[in-house]
Amino acid sequence: MRQGATGFTAAAGTQRAPGRVGTLLLAPLVAWALLFVVAPAAIMLVYSFLERGTLGGVLWERATLENYAGVGNPVYLRIVLRSILYAGITTALCLAAGYPVAYLIGRANLRYRNLLLMAVMIPFWTSFLIRTYAWVTILKSQGFLNSSLLALGLIDQPFEMLYTPGAVIVGLVYTFLPFMILPIFTSVEKLDGALIEAALDLGAGPLRAFSRVIVPLTSPGISAGVLLVFVPALGIYAVNDILGGGRVDMIGNIIENQIKGNARNWPFGAALGTALLFSFAVAYYYVNRRQRVAEGRA
């Protein structure tokens, strides 16, 4: 990794090690992470190598790789790939829709900035499930959208929207959009306007200034947003059940069904979860590396 090429990485590279007080302040976070992140992940990893118990749970008799053979089964592999596709489309749409919004909020007059930011966060005041069910009311065949379109004469019979892949994507984008806007906003807010002016003064067109100056400088926000959207979008299953009618399973549905459904196959669920966690790790690694490369070049 090339360091010190810009003020950015240099500052990050020379960050002081936390002192004793700092370490102490970190302790609750570390304990929380160990207890609720590392320990469950470790249990999941161990379970993924065990055998299925008759009433759910696991048998401790012997270790097996069978569960991972199941993960590689085309049936489940196809579901994993489809989940990645849905999460990818969701991330791309969130980025396309969220970046301009984040940019406008970040560059807005300070007086309006907090107000706009509040508007992004207001949906969080209501339960995620209620907001998703609200989409059912909008999208159903005799719903708000169809009756509006019919009244306007734009369509002459109800358009099938609910229980389609499109409805799932709409629900996912709606759910995760704020997670894209907020980190990008943070990057945009820190953006030095003088650098953009300099780019324009030195002959870069608006497009070039955007792609060579603005995007690289906001890339930490972009990669954070991409991760915050892609990772949970890959695992979520409620949106798929409610808006997609459960017609195609997502990987989250399959895992749920191993624990809470008929299958009662915890080790297989754990193996799927471990595989998912592993793919998160890979995704994180690549995004992070790209970001470092981008920073190095800037």
Binding site: Q15, V37, Y76, V248, I259, A263, R264
Partner: protein
């Protein structure tokens, strides 16, 4: 910079975990303040673990008012979820509500305590037909709470011909107009029944036979929903459904007469959800008292009013209104062919895999 890498990592992982949990609303434990201000005269607390949407809060509140026993009501959405939480041992539940195949499995594994029938004076209200069933013939461990079936609901404004069998539901002309339970055991069971096979006879050969049936059926389905299949029917997004009888009964009541409920002639699934006391229960006295309270005809009939399944309490049935008794979903006429599920053991995973596989192939 590297130093903080792992923390960002964890933040992301924790976030993912939180988001994944978002699919389920945790029922809040009843506030302590809900108890009578004075010390409860007897009994203390009862940890009840029961199906969601199956027990009216009013019935619980009246029990607390009468007995002073505080009921901590936690809910689950599947037998398997209940088993998972029960066997984890995190909470000592005093009373659970398993379906018959789960009663069978729990008895087999020694997870249920025999009931003290001297404390269940109202047990006599349970109909004779609920004795002699394979999962618990003498009602040693379980008391029937509600019985239900899985049958065909049709919107008769849209579906003109009678639909009386699985094959008639899953016809090409009904494509995109069908809601079914999102439940592998159910759907695979229907396929077996339509072939004249026993829904409990889950052998690799029979599953192989069910495969082409499912390959034909599943592409026709518009919605899979076990929680509230009535919603899609009420909204007019589908016209046909194979759903729980309780949902069917509500549709008959609320649909303005346009919904019909028919048990498939090839053989329908019948379930009996029971009350049972799990091993490790702390308050046996309160658990028995609550079961006996629910067995009172005047209490049981209130449950029927909210959740119109078939009430196994014959004394309570006498208190039902004419309309309630005439509801074909709650009290199916005639003598239909009904099958209860048996515990499948390890084969449950095979059934689930087949369903997942066929569903994945049917989807776009």
């Amino acid at each position: 910079m590297r130093r903080f890498e792992w923390m960002r990592w964890m933040a992301v992982a924790a976030f993912a975990a939180l988001a994944a949990c978002g699919g389920e609303e945790k029922p809040a434990a009843p506030a302590e303040g809900a108890a009578s201000p004075a010390e409860p005269p007897a009994g203390g607390e009862l940890n009840l673990f029961a199906w969601s949407e199956y027990l009216p809060q009013g019935v619980i509140d009246e029990f607390t008012a009468e007995s002073g026993i505080v009921v901590n009501y936690e809910q689950y959405a599947s037998n398997e979820e209940m088993l998972a939480k029960l066997t984890s041992g995190a909470v000592a539940y005093d009373l659970v509500q398993p379906s018959e195949y789960t009663v069978e499995a729990m008895v087999k594994e020694g997870l249920l305590l025999p009931l003290d029938k001297t404390k269940l004076l109202n047990l006599k209200n349970i109909g004779q037909e609920y004795y002699g069933r394979a999962h618990d013939p003498e009602l040693t461990y379980s008391v029937p709470y509600m019985q239900g079936t899985v049958g065909i609901v049709a919107n008769t404004e849209k579906i003109k011909q009678p639909v009386t069998s699985y094959a008639e539901v899953f016809q090409a002309k009904h494509e995109g107009r069908i809601v079914v339970l999102d439940d592998s055991r159910e759907v695979v069971g229907w396929a077996l029944a339509s072939l004249g096979l026993d829904a409990n006879d889950v052998t690799p050969e029979n599953l192989e036979k069910a495969k082409p049936v499912l390959a034909k059926w599943l592409p026709l389905v518009k919605v899979y929903d076990s929680d509230s299949p009535k919603t899609a029917l009420l909204n007019g997004d589908v016209d046909l459904g194979v759903v729980w009888s309780g949902e069917g009964a509500i549709l008959i009541n609320e649909g303005g007469g346009k919904f019909s409920y028919t048990l498939p002639s090839d053989g329908a699934h019948m379930f009996i959800d029971s009350l049972a006391i799990p091993k490790g229960a702390q308050n046996l006295a309160a658990a028995h008292q609550f079961i006996d309270y629910l067995l009172r005809p005047e209490v049981s009939v209130k449950i029927s009013a909210d959740f119109p399944y078939t009430n196994p309490n014959v004394e309570a049935r006498k208190l039902l209104s004419e309309a309630e008794r005439a509801n074909a979903a709650s009290y199916p006429p005639g003598s239909p062919k009904l099958t209860t599920f048996k515990d499948l053991g390890a084969a449950a995973a095979d059934v689930d895999k087949l369903f997942t596989d066929m569903k994945a192939q049917s989807g776009s």
